[in-house]
C-alpha cells in the first residue's frame, strides 16, 4: 500500500525521477524509462535543440512521461528565469527544476539566487522545483516563495558519494511541508533506499544510472530500492536497541 506522491497538484506514481544527461546514447532513454518505471524525467534545456537536424533527446522521451525541464547552466536568477520561460515557450510545460550554479568547481547550488528565481516563476504560474543545498533557512524561504517541492543534494553532483548530508536532509523532511526529493550525489541503490527510509518523498538519480556499465539494469535496481525504502518508511521501524535492556538502573530506586 503506497500512497501517491503529489507535486503542485499533480499525482505522480513513481518516486524515482531520472535524468537525461551523461548517457552514451540518447537511444537508451526509452529503455531506462521502462526499467525504472519513472514518470518524471528531467532535461537540461541547454542541451535541447528543437530545430535539430541531428539527433535530439526529445525524440526519445515518450509522450506519457512528465517532462521536468531544468535550468542547468544558469549562473544567476535572471538566467534561470529566462531559461524557464524559454522552456515553457518551447512547449515543455509548466514544470521547472531550478538549478542556479555559480560555482563550476563543485557545482554547488546558489541558494539565494534560487529563492529569487523561485519567487518570480511561482508567481508566473510555474510548478517550481528548486535544487538546493539542504539548508533549512533557504528551504523555508522557498516555501514562502511558492516552491512546489524542495530538492536537496545528498552530495555534490556527479560524485556518487551517497547521503553525505543525511542529517540536514532529515531536518528538511521534518520541518518542510513540501515534498522532499533528494537530488544529486546518490551513488548506489542502497543510498536511495536509505533516503526513502528517512522519509524523503522521492529521489532523482542520473549519474549513478547513466555512468553504470549496465544503465538499464541499474535503473531497475534503483526502482526496487526506492520502492523498498518507501514501504519500510510507511511500515515504521521497530525501535533500535544497542544492548539487551537491563532493569531500570536509573529509576530503580523508586521501587526499592
Amino acid at each position: 500500500m503506497e500512497e501517491i506522491l503529489e507535486i503542485g497538484g499533480e499525482k505522480i506514481d513513481s518516486r524515482l525521477f531520472i535524468g537525461t544527461g551523461k548517457y552514451p546514447s540518447d537511444k537508451l532513454i526509452p529503455e531506462i524509462i521502462e526499467a525504472s518505471g519513472a514518470q518524471v524525467i528531467t532535461v537540461a534545456l541547454r542541451r535541447v535543440d528543437f530545430n535539430a537536424i541531428t539527433q535530439n533527446v526529445m525524440q526519445f522521451i515518450p509522450k506519457n512521461i512528465k517532462l521536468l525541464p531544468n535550468t542547468s547552466g544558469a549562473r544567476n536568477y535572471e538566467e534561470a528565469v529566462r531559461i524557464a520561460r524559454l522552456a515553457k515557450a518551447a512547449g515543455c510545460g509548466n514544470r521547472i527544476k531550478i538549478e542556479v550554479i555559480s560555482d563550476n568547481k563543485y557545482l554547488l547550488p546558489d541558494g539565494h539566487q534560487t529563492v529569487k528565481a523561485t519567487e518570480i516563476l511561482a508567481k508566473e504560474g510555474f510548478i517550481v522545483m528548486p535544487y538546493i543545498n539542504p539548508d533549512l533557512i533557504i528551504a523555508k524561504q522557498l516555501v514562502s516563495a511558492g516552491a512546489a517541492s524542495v530538492m536537496p543534494l545528498g552530495a555534490p553532483i556527479g560524485t556518487n558519494m551517497g547521503l553525505k548530508t543525511k542529517e540536514m536532509i532529515k531536518i528538511l523532511i521534518e520541518e518542510i511541508p513540501l515534498p522532499i526529493i533528494v537530488d544529486a550525489g546518490i551513488g548506489k541503490p542502497s543510498d536511495a533506499c536509505e533516503a526513502m527510509e528517512l522519509g524523503a518523498d522521492a529521489c532523482l538519480v542520473n549519474t549513478a544510472i547513466a555512468a553504470s556499465d549496465n544503465p538499464v539494469l541499474m535503473a531497475k535496481s534503483f526502482s526496487e530500492a526506492i520502492s523498498a525504502g518507501r514501504k519500510a518508511y510507511l511500515a515504521g521501524f521497530a525501535a533500535q536497541q544497542k544492548a539487551a535492556k537491563a532493569s531500570s538502573p536509573l529509576t530503580g530506586f523508586l521501587y526499592e
Binding site: 544527461g21 551523461k22 542541451r47 535543440d49 555559480s102 563550476n104 568547481k105 555512468a211
Partner: protein, 367 residues
C-alpha cells in the same frame, strides 16, 4: 593580484631538482588522493610518472565519466580574416609569411555560416588574425550577429581585448573565449613575438581574466606545446586554469592542448611533444581539475583522437577548415596550420558513437 603573481612564485623554481626528488611511492600516493595540489600536479608531469600512464589514464577516465558522462561536445572553427600585424615565429598567419590574405565580408560570412550549419553543429568558434585595424571590434560584433542566426554557442579566438571590448562582444552573444598564452616562459615569449599587438606578454596573460571580469560564460586557455619545455608550459597552463576557476567560480574553465603543426614558414620545434607526453599532460590535468573541460582540435590525427576520447577529452572540433572562406567559398590555399584529422562532422559523429560515447551538438543557447 593577477596570474602573473602565481607565475612569479614558480618562475625560479628548480624543476630539475624537484623532478629528481620524486619517488614511485610519492606518485602512488598522489594517485590514491581524492584531490591533488599544485605540486602533486607537477609530480604527475614528471618523467617518473610516465611509468604510471595506465593508472593515470584510468583515473582520468573515471573522473571524466562521473563529471561529464560519456559525451563529447562538437564545435567547428570559422576563420573570417587572416590579416595579421604580428610575426609570431611559429604561425602560418605571421605577417612575415607572404601569403594571400583574405577578409570575408558579411555576405561571405553568411554563406560560410549556412554551409557549416548544414552539418548540424551548433557551437562555432570565430577566428581572426591579430589585426585590430582590419578585423575591428565592430566587424567582429557584426559577424557575431550573423552567426547567432545559425548557432547557439559562439566562441571567439581573436586578439586579446580590453574588458570593455569583451563586454561588448558578450552582450552581442559571445559565450566563450579561447586565448592561448602560447608559452608562459616570459623570456621566450618576447623572442617568439617580436612585433605587433601580441608582443605584450602581460596583456595577453591577463586576457582570460578580463573576459571573466566581463562575465564570459566560459574561457579556454592553453600553451602551444612544443615551444618551451613541455612540463613547464603544461604546469603553468594548469595553474592558470586553477587560478581562473578559483577566482571566477561562475566561469567554465577549459584547456586546449595544441601541439605545433606544420604551416607556412619554417619554424623548428625545439621541444616536441609525442603522443605519450600528450596523454601524460592530459590525464595529469584531468586529475588536477576534474571538472574542467579539455578541448582537442583537428591538429591531432584521427586514430589518436579516437584513442583519447576515453581518456579525458570533453570537446572536439570536427570537420574543420583553417582557411578563411574554406567551407563554402572553396578557399583552401592558405591555412593557419595543416589539419591532421580531415573527417567530416558525420564521420566524427559515427566514430564517437562507435566508441559508445554521445556526440553533443548543443550544450548552450544564447539567452
Amino acid at each position: 593580484m593577477s596570474f602573473y603573481d602565481t607565475y612569479l612564485q614558480y618562475k625560479n623554481f628548480d624543476f630539475k631538482i624537484f623532478f629528481q626528488s620524486i619517488t614511485e611511492n610519492k606518485i602512488k600516493n598522489i594517485l590514491a588522493k581524492e584531490r591533488i595540489n599544485q605540486l602533486d600536479f607537477l609530480t604527475l608531469l614528471s618523467e617518473k610518472a610516465s611509468g604510471f600512464l595506465e593508472d593515470m589514464a584510468l583515473k582520468s577516465h573515471n573522473l571524466t565519466i562521473s563529471n561529464f558522462g560519456k559525451t563529447i561536445l562538437l564545435f567547428i572553427p570559422i576563420y573570417i580574416s587572416d590579416y595579421c600585424s604580428n610575426s609570431c615565429l611559429y604561425c602560418g598567419f605571421s605577417s612575415k609569411n607572404k601569403i594571400k590574405r583574405r577578409h570575408l565580408d558579411y555576405d561571405q560570412i553568411k554563406t560560410e555560416a549556412e554551409k557549416i550549419a548544414e552539418t548540424g553543429i551548433k557551437h562555432i568558434l570565430l577566428l581572426t588574425g591579430d589585426a585590430p585595424k582590419i578585423a575591428t571590434i565592430d566587424y567582429i560584433k557584426n559577424s557575431v550577429k550573423i552567426l547567432k542566426k545559425y548557432f547557439t554557442g559562439i566562441g571567439i579566438e581573436i586578439y586579446a581585448l580590453t574588458q570593455e571590448e569583451y563586454d561588448i562582444l558578450i552582450q552581442k552573444g559571445v559565450d566563450s573565449l579561447s586565448i592561448y598564452q602560447e608559452t608562459y616562459n616570459e623570456k621566450l615569449y618576447q623572442k617568439l613575438h617580436p612585433v605587433g599587438h601580441k608582443k605584450d606578454y602581460h596583456f595577453r596573460l591577463n586576457a582570460p581574466e578580463r573576459a571573466c571580469m566581463a562575465k564570459i560564460r566560459s574561457v579556454n586557455i592553453g600553451a602551444l606545446l612544443g615551444l618551451d619545455e613541455w612540463q613547464k608550459d603544461a604546469f603553468f597552463t594548469g595553474l592558470h586554469a586553477d587560478y581562473l576557476q578559483n577566482k571566477y567560480m561562475d566561469a567554465e574553465v577549459s584547456v586546449s592542448l595544441p601541439r605545433i603543426r606544420p604551416h607556412a614558414g619554417n619554424f623548428k620545434v625545439s621541444h616536441p611533444v609525442d603522443d605519450k607526453k600528450f596523454i601524460q599532460i592530459m590525464t595529469a590535468f584531468r586529475i588536477f581539475m576534474p571538472r574542467a573541460g579539455i578541448a582537442v582540435s583537428t591538429r591531432e590525427a584521427p586514430e589518436f583522437r579516437n584513442n583519447i576520447i576515453k581518456l579525458g577529452v570533453t570537446k572536439m572540433s570536427a570537420g574543420s577548415n583553417t582557411s578563411v572562406g574554406g567551407y563554402a567559398l572553396n578557399n583552401t590555399d592558405t591555412k593557419q596550420f595543416d589539419i591532421s584529422d580531415t573527417r567530416s562532422v558525420k564521420e566524427m559523429e559515427k566514430a564517437i558513437t562507435k566508441l559508445d560515447y554521445q556526440p553533443v551538438f548543443k550544450d548552450w543557447q544564447t539567452l
